[in-house]
């Protein structure tokens, strides 16, 4: 052993360690994504063994776990938002005829998919991380590998596919409920005629496309981030708890970051007119 390293060296090392850890984690996260995509090809390509029933079972689990949750949350947010919007509009402009048009555009291209995905990030993300994490710490993943099964193919591929389908489905439902609840609030609290409110004139195909792209991207990101956290679980139940928390935080953050990135991308694509 030589003398203790000097202060700058130690400072550099202290700075470098988290950077290296973060870089390694990012690499692993990409590895999970690539592995899952490859797993889809392995499972659904020629001669692959399709995980029969597993995708449907996962879709049911996600729907069962989140349907009421998403519907209630988005309904309430729709009401609160519309109440506030009407309040501000009536004070500033005194005209509420545009409120429904603008609201629908926002719900379709942003609030619907993003808020739905935020809810799913907590429910679905925590579920995936807890399941995979506890299988990791109890060596069930190693037992799968002994049985000739790739854990990613067996566990993550069905959850990935199910999550994409269900995020789109629940987004449609959530957006509809949010829009409906908003319209109801505007009508009952501010006397906005539902005919004026429920007018889809402002919604263009690009809004629908953006909403769909967002829903699909979120639906893909949540199981990847959560699966990554679960696969990293270490130790015992404490490690599973940590992985579950990390999955909820990480996939919520991923939804917000992707929302930003996709919105900026869409603005650029459509020349600032959204």
């Amino acid at each position: 052993m030589s003398a203790a390293p000097s202060l700058p060296v130690r400072a550099l090392a202290a700075l470098g360690r988290p950077v290296i850890a973060a870089a390694r984690a990012t690499l692993e996260l990409w590895g999970v994504l690539i592995g899952t995509l490859a797993g889809i090809i392995r499972s659904y390509g020629k001669g692959g063994r399709r995980p029969r029933g597993a995708v449907v079972a996962q879709m049911y689990a996600i729907g069962n776990r989140s349907l009421v949750f998403v519907a209630v949350t988005l309904g309430f947010i729709g009401m609160v938002m519309m109440y506030q919007a009407c309040l501000q509009f009536s004070r500033a402009i005194g005209d509420l005829s545009q409120v429904g048009l603008q609201f629908l555009r926002l719900v379709v291209s942003d609030f619907g998919p993003t808020l739905t995905a935020m809810m799913l990030a907590t429910r679905v993300g925590a579920g995936i991380a807890a399941e995979i994490g506890s299988m990791k710490v109890t060596e069930q993943l190693d037992a799968l590998r002994m049985s000739g099964v790739l854990p990613i193919d067996y566990l993550l591929v069905p959850r990935f596919l199910a999550s994409i389908v269900m995020t789109v489905a629940l987004t449609i439902l959530g957006a509809a409920i949010m829009y409906g609840a908003g319209g109801l609030t505007a009508w009952l609290s501010f006397g906005v005629n539902p005919r004026t409110f429920f007018d889809p004139a402002m919604v263009q195909p690009r809004h629908l496309a953006l909403g769909l792209v967002k829903a699909v991207t979120y639906g893909a990101a949540i199981p990847i981030v959560s699966g990554f956290c679960g696969l990293r679980a270490r130790g015992s139940s404490e490690g599973v708890g940590w992985a579950t928390t990390a999955a909820v935080v990480g996939s919520s953050f991923a939804v917000i970051a992707l929302d930003f990135a996709l919105s900026v991308g869409a603005l650029w694509l459509f020349g600032g007119d959204l």
Partner: protein
Amino acid sequence: MSGRAFVEFVGVEKAFAGKPVLRGMDLAIGKGEILYIIGTSGVGKSVTIKHLVGFLPIDKGEIWFDGQRVDRLDERGFYPVRRRVGMVFQNATLFDAMTLTENVALPLRKHQGLGWKAALADARRRLAQVYLADFADRYPAELSDGMRKRAAIARTLTLAPEVVLFDEPTTGLDPVNARRIDRLIRELSRTLGVTAVVVSHDLPSIMSVADRVAFLYQGRVHALATPAELAASADPIVQQFIAGRSSGPMETPGF
């Protein structure tokens, strides 16, 4: 086959986050032998056997199985090795979400490519062999530790492995069930010629079953001998372990 033993570890080194666990471990295991690996907790016994089936990559050294070098294989390359080398995990690791039959059927389906129906039928037969026919449709959480252990062993044996790695097979079992596991390991070796590598702390089991015992200490095989030789060993560290004395020359991290 190049004069190598059936299973051979050569100068294997492994560290986790800079903390060395194995530091140049050499171990040769003969075909059909029952080799016990003993040592204090955290010394690297589980890590050692996991290396053989490729769950963890080694840092340095070589691992040979039946004349083939396996430590450089990738996940796919390890498939054929895992078909021939079975592992019974420490916690009788069954898949929670599957019934016993489905648990046992999984390796049959994946490794041997059996259809689902054929695999399930075969799995039922194998569960009957370990007296679990009545529990074939139960989930692991509904069973006792001993039953889970037996089911896990049945799952491992479905592929007729040439080597079986047991990670603390008797830990947590009552003495009767523990001796049954001992008998099973002996029978596998004597009647089927299976090579058994057993990680254990269970002295009665070691004394009655092992052909040879490898005592792991500070990342190396500190002593390799028959159980009788080990019991009579003059080595103070071995003596301390066998006698189970809390104080002595042995250095254990964390104390």
